[in-house]
């Protein structure tokens, strides 16, 4: 057999650093255990962390994309969450391995001459790489950052270098963000990127803005269906009836190849789309960067280089 292009990407990263960056906020640095380059991403992207409960939680990438060997995410401890953030805070330690899907981007930065960024609390995370990007592009920008208290607001020192482009308005000092005032000068050439808690997004959505100005990030509710799994599952190749067990340490692509069926692939990191395979039955666990939410929900295709199965069996048109 032809030598393979690269080792299959195990979508498992190691926590190489963790740091408390504000009250109740921990920043994690993730890297490939073998030090390999991680898949590229764009500002606004998030990754899925696959938690031991099987649930996946989405966290925005807030690091430097010019550093290809690490991802950075920041996690707020959510007292009323379903335990995902508590697990990250209480259990996940430096040196641990964690399953990672994506990165995917549902909150893309679009080109514009002017930007207004509005962050509420942990909503600052996707905006950090956006600010870096628009700075490099030479666009005009402003950030208004609100939070409960100054101590609860992450990355203030990182933002301090931008001087008066950044306005920090902790609620205990200034009350709620003065949205009407902030939006007073916004014209059709400005793009407003807003990320934060639901009440903030609702308030912004209620303002009367020119069309296409506003882009917000509201993480979709947790997907329904069986949780992601870290146990073996069976892939059935429909055209021949051959079945192959996919163990946690191999990709579906590798498993399928091992029974003599080649699927064209290229990037092997879920970004190029070459290995798309039709799913005839079963429930995909999408880990690619290609599909959007609606396409993921349709469950009719699988990028076999990275994606997996939620259930015991996945029937592929191969």
């Amino acid at each position: 057999m032809t030598p393979t292009a690269a080792a299959p990407r195990q979508a498992t990263l190691r926590v190489t650093a963790r740091e408390t960056v504000a009250d109740g906020v921990v920043a994690l640095t993730l890297a490939d255990p073998a030090g390999a380059r991680l898949p590229d991403w764009t500002p606004g992207s998030h990754v899925d962390l696959v938690l031991p409960t099987g649930l996946t939680r989405q966290y925005s990438l807030c690091g430097d994309r010019w550093d290809a060997s690490t991802y950075r995410v920041a996690v707020l401890r959510e007292p009323i969450g379903r335990g995902g953030s508590a697990w990250v805070h209480d259990e996940l330690a430096v040196g641990d391995l964690v399953g990672v899907g994506g990165p995917r981007n549902q909150f893309r930065l679009v080109p514009a001459p002017r930007y207004l960024f509005i962050a509420g609390g942990i909503g600052i995370t996707p905006l950090l790489p956006m600010i870096d990007a628009v700075r490099r592009l030479g666009a005009d920008w402003r950030l208004v950052y609100g939070g409960r208290t100054r101590d609860s607001m992450a990355f203030l020192d990182e933002l301090a270098v931008h001087g008066d482009r950044v306005t920090v308005l902790p609620q205990d000092e200034h009350g709620h963000l003065p949205l009407a005032e902030l939006f007073a000068g916004v014209d059709a050439d400005t793009r407003v990127y807003c990320c934060g808690p639901a009440p903030l997004l609702d308030a912004v959505a209620g303002l009367d803005l020119p069309p296409r100005v506003l882009r917000t990030e509201r993480f979709a509710a947790q997907e329904q269906g069986a949780p992601a799994r870290d146990t073996p599952f069976t892939v059935v190749l429909d055209r021949t009836g051959v079945e192959v067990v996919v163990t946690p340490d191999v990709s579906v692509l590798e498993a399928v190849r091992s029974v003599g069926v080649d699927v064209l692939s290229s990037c092997r990191e879920g970004t190029c789309g070459t290995c798309e395979t039709t799913v005839l039955a079963g429930e995909p666990d999408h880990r690619d960067s290609v599909l959007d939410e609606a396409e993921r929900a349709a469950g009719d295709c699988l990028f076999v280089c990275v994606s997996r199965s939620r259930g015991d069996r996945l029937v592929l048109d191969l």
Binding site: P3, A6, T42, N105, R108, V110, P111, V134, D262, S265
Partner: protein, 395 residues
Amino acid sequence: MPALDLDPFDPEVLRDPLPAHAALRDAGPLVRLPRYDTYAIARYADVRAALSDWQSFESSAGVGLTNFRTETPWRPPSLLLEADPPAHDAPRTVLARILGPRALRRLREDWAADAVALVDDLLGGRSEVEVDAVPTLAAAFPLRVFPDAVGLRADGREHLLPYGDHAFNAFGPTDNPLVLAGNEHMAEHAGWVGQQCLRENLAPAGFGADIWAAADRGDLTHAQAPLVVRSLLTAGVDTTVHGIGAVLHALAATPGAWDLLRARPELVRVAFDEAVRWESPVQAFFRTTVRDVPVADAVVPAGAKVLVFFAAANRDPRHWADPDAFDLTRDPSGHVGFGMGIHQCVGQHVARLEAESLLTALLARVTRLELTGEPVRHLNNTLRAWDSLPLRLTV
């Protein structure tokens, strides 16, 4: 660091680049090319690593020999090929969606029918025909389906191939005979292409209209839209024509290949990607180092042009078993014929669908595919191509 007195743009090298590629690979992971004061990377592992590392090897200084930091490009730089993040992000995202495999599904049936019609016309009820497969198949099919898919008007399409050919020549030295010859009619071709990128000249449905719709949604600026359309017209025609030429040549010249493909038509996609590996229609692009960049034990100094050889990587025996064989039983996955990383060919799924449509139509009718004479190379500073490919098709 080894140096080779080699001119990658010499007509003899363009006619048969394989010995030069082997010499480059054998000389080392990083080779100096004093003739143009540049460097070359030709081994698979190093090529793939360099293509992936956009942070170190930038594209916005131009992917040809011309350094946009110090010289003026012959046309405004491409927003895709000649751009880096973050400027590259939005155009890439927009085009990746429009040309993605899921978006192309609606074209599949039409293209299959178009291919059948083209093959039927060519065979014309005869049991055997002799053709030059370059104009009649390799060029005819993309020119039949792609401009329509973009939404171009019917007249003037003859500008597309010479425009693309010149654009790919222009990645070489600007005083090279191929570039000088192309310059003569370029104003005309470029003028027509520029006009077609405007919204009013594009059909209301198609890739072109989709790009303008993205600008209306605010995913691009309206100033960017015509340049993104231009990328389709520059990079979407010649490359596919030569890719299809490559697979037809490979299938005709390789004993047993056509029979095997007829027996196992599900291998059509493999056949095309294997041909892209074997022939590498796009041979090489330059990158420019943003700092001193280590390659194996050597270092490319900051600001240097580095010629990254897709073609040499695709036949590197360090990576591929029996690399010079066109082998339908091989898995060509991981070839760098479409590039790799954020600049990987955004139209690759379109090219694959075109090739698959045409090959499938041929396989349904043609039992034998044979060369009837010496194929003739078309020389281009970047592309590997055929000018003429005499074939006999037996029904």
